[in-house]
Symmetry: C3
Subunit: 395 residues, 3 copies
């Protein structure tokens, strides 16, 4: 019986686990390690930060859903991986593996800019549940005494979507509350132009987003680095000092500490087309943890986003590859992963489809409309319903 | 009985006068001074310059309408104000006041650029009836021997609208006459981009105006200063020499001489939220005469426009404040003024709504359509009909 | 009987010939010289290069159609013109003339950039039938092993249309073949912005083309010079090295050798409003052979395109002028020529109408739609049907 250890209990880890059990059944012992005991539906975190969702609306206990799937679960953070000895180390145990799947997600790089981040710094973030709840509190305080808002993404960021969503949602909510005129909103980004998204743009994303920000009267500062966050100012590389009462900035990402030594200089795991580690045949990695080269060198550094949809496809490919080896079958054929995501815009939404993710693309779509917002709302419910039943989230 | 003196017989002065009499009746003696004896509906001056209106279509004798409203009228220019002695001085009289309302409009700064303006310079203007009539004559001469036209706004301008209207109207009229192909039109402006309007843009104004000018094949030069006007060239700061047969440029504005000493370095009157002078409790000011800080520092200096609609709201607030003091009531609550204006585009028009005028805004609208042109035509008639009856122009 | 010699058997030469015979009948002996014995419908050459047309679909023997029109035909290249002796020299003959019509089209300037062009260089071209057939072969090879494509127009180009068409057609065909995602396409041009076309743009051509290229995810590099073509790279002046598996670049044009000495420094013939040589009263020139000053100095040099539609109008004016002299009538009144062309975009097309060609214009139109593609397809058939019958191609 093959011993398979998975680190991570989000899109990548769960999909890999369920797929491996589906393909291998009793031929594999699948163990999942996670630093929390809850699955959090990350795409809904911006809504938590706006008070549009409660934590219980978007979290599920991992224990129950993994047990139903026949997966062993240890709510323990991996503190290291000994790739040569083939074991994962936590504070309490060591887990020997025949195959390892690294689906940890990222480390968030708040130390890259002085004064950055919600833990000791001066900016909010919405990339984890804890951050989103802090941002909700900051938002409540802000509403008592509104003023300028700065939203954006610093140099080195790869995941721009939540910053866009937050800017649009804040604009929408302030209009609902009839106080938009008391809140200058500025969007600051390392992207060379708005709508770049770290993927070199998607069809008319540039002119559509330029129009959208203009229409919402959100001021744009693109192609910029942040030098420092003070308690009430964003200080940009070009000398601009942008005052704020509330600031939400996306951080750059890196590989997590436990697996950093297995990755590239940023700790991202280099993988082949089957998501297998380039040096260790029995280590696989999926999702944000892996290394993807950007489509172009941007003047201010940016990276390539990895969405949940991409991660699940990677996890399926990785699971199929492991299963084929365990069963002595030939390797499955894989292809590039595509992205399908819906960016919430508060009162409307944008559907983005890119296959492959980076240009040149086979198919590319960018559409705006209220119906995509309904689709996003429905998908959240559907996904959570499915994952509760131990089904992978992909339709 | 409170003695109230108003300087100025346009939107601000008339609205203030009618409002004060409406609120105070016999409790106030209202005296209005004006350097002309006619009310001119200024928004229609571009049409006079095109020959689409005669002066008599858009002017009304002040004597008659003020007498009907119980307002004393002296067609005399104020030459000074002695704020400490509380009197206004004209060539013939001195007027003691309990309250003074400064609604003079601006001084036009043609001396800011060599060769500028219709009085000794080489450019036309459409900001006064006299200028509009001169421009009409220049237009008639131009039509006999067409050539390049330069339209625009020099550095320091705050009122860009008439330049836009003139460019669009000239384009429309030349097409009607089937000679558009003999007339290269260039629009030169100190705005950082077209559609900025001195107010940081209004929703998609930038891309809409870029498309509009492109569609009309009017060449754009933005973010530029003018160094000099020669009899047949506009000389720009970047060295460009733009030949013209006809040039119409908007000038920067400053406070008029009689009240300059009461204002900021440009002679604009600093006022509080009730349009009361920051140092003199019994002096109020409304309209172009007041000081408004621009929303942002533009690379080439620009100012904030004050439209007739804004001016009337200011005049109402000022009149209500004076009346409440005279009647011993508590001060009225005021808010920021909004702008509602329709920019004529010759064959179509653009409706602009901004509340407040400067971003961030509570409501903002920008729409183009022939129906807005009909609305502008109708409003002119309606306003003139109303003012003839001593009613304030606001619906 | 007036001896009239025409050099060139394409739009200009044929239209001039047919018109002269129609106007003068037996009063003129019209002789046409051409370096090939076939008329090629040049606007369809991009389709030949894509394999969407065979050569026989778009060529007609000149002999037959000219004989039917009573025009003498010699399939001989002019090697020189002795303007003072009034004769055209070919390898085999000398042709004395009373009137000469130069309708040669251009020399293609591949020597302007190292490694340029299909004859010894590394880039394809689609400006002659031979080039288009070579490009078709290169395309077939490319499809076996796809990679990056570079399309564009080097410095000094005046005819940008075919480069645009080729980029759009390649994009369309690759999508049809489902391999678009394996082919990054970059469009490199000397135009200051996309949609300039050498004519200072046409209405909203800039924003329409920017959106079109974005929508097709074709990368844009504008306002650039090419320093060198290597076998697999375009080297730009700013240091960019653009790799390619297939490159198609439009060349600059000059006057052909046989008449170069009669032209300006680039060999283009200077003509008056009747298309008569400025120094030689009995020499006329039409089409690409004539000199037209560009509407503006562009940062990277560009020229003004001369389309078939323009050429035919020039040829009519020239023929009418010659005929009026032969018949002793007063000179015909001429006007500026306009352009009417349809740019194929593979799956759709753009109609462009400009009268005159350069701004300021009397009429200008730019519209996109599938119906214009149908019109282009229909016009090709109609024109070829008409020319076969010795009728000039203009509707």
């Amino acid at each position: 019986m093959a011993k398979i250890v998975i680190i991570g209990g989000s899109f990548g880890g769960l999909t890999a686990g369920f797929e491996l059990k589906r393909l291998l059944g009793n031929k594999a012992e699948v163990t999942l390690l996670c630093d929390t005991d809850k699955f959090v539906f990350v795409p809904s975190l911006p809504w938590v930060s706006m008070g549009w969702r409660r934590p219980e609306d978007i979290t599920i206990g991992l224990e129950k859903i993994l047990a139903a799937g026949g997966i062993r679960f240890f709510p323990e953070a991996a503190v290291g991986v000994d790739a040569d000895a083939a074991k994962v180390i936590t504070a309490a145990h060591e887990f020997q593996y025949d195959y390892l799947v690294i689906a940890t997600g990222p480390d968030l790089g708040f130390s890259s800019v002085p004064g950055f981040g919600p833990y000791g710094g001066h900016t909010e973030c919405i990339f984890t549940l804890d951050q989103a709840l802090k941002t909700k509190k900051a938002w409540d305080r802000f509403l008592e005494n509104p003023g300028p808002i700065a939203v954006g993404a610093v140099q080195g960021v790869s995941c721009f979507g939540p910053a866009y969503e937050y800017a649009f949602e804040v604009d929408t909510e302030l209009k609902r509350r009839n106080i938009r005129h008391r809140v200058p909103i500025t969007f600051v980004t390392s992207e060379p132009y708005i709508g770049h998204f770290g993927i070199g743009g998607l069809k008319k994303s540039r002119s559509i987003m330029e129009d959208e920000f203009a229409d919402r009267e959100i001021k744009l500062i693109t192609n910029q680095s942040v030098e420092e966050f003070t308690p009430d100012e964003v200080r940009l590389k070009d000398g601009t000092k942008l005052p704020f009462k509330l600031a939400m900035f996306a951080p750059p990402m890196a590989g997590v500490k436990a697996v950093f030594h297995l990755g590239n200089p940023k700790g991202f795991i280099p993988v082949d087309a089957n998501y297998r580690h380039k040096n260790y045949k029995n280590i696989f990695s999926v999702g944000v943890a892996i290394a993807i080269a950007p489509p172009e060198q941007t003047p201010v550094p940016t990276g390539v986003p990895k969405t949940g949809y991409m991660t699940e496809h990677m996890a399926k490919y990785a699971a199929e590859t492991i299963a084929s080896e365990v069963l002595g079958k030939s390797l499955p054929k894989t292809g590039p992963v595509g992205a399908l995501c819906i960016m919430d815009m508060g009162n409307t939404a944008a559907l983005m489809k890119a296959y492959p993710v980076l240009p040149p693309r086979k198919t590319a779509e960018l559409k705006e409309g209220k119906r995509y917002r309904w689709a996003k709302l429905a998908f959240e419910k559907y996904y959570l319903w499915k994952i509760r039943r131990g089904l992978t989230g992909l339709p």
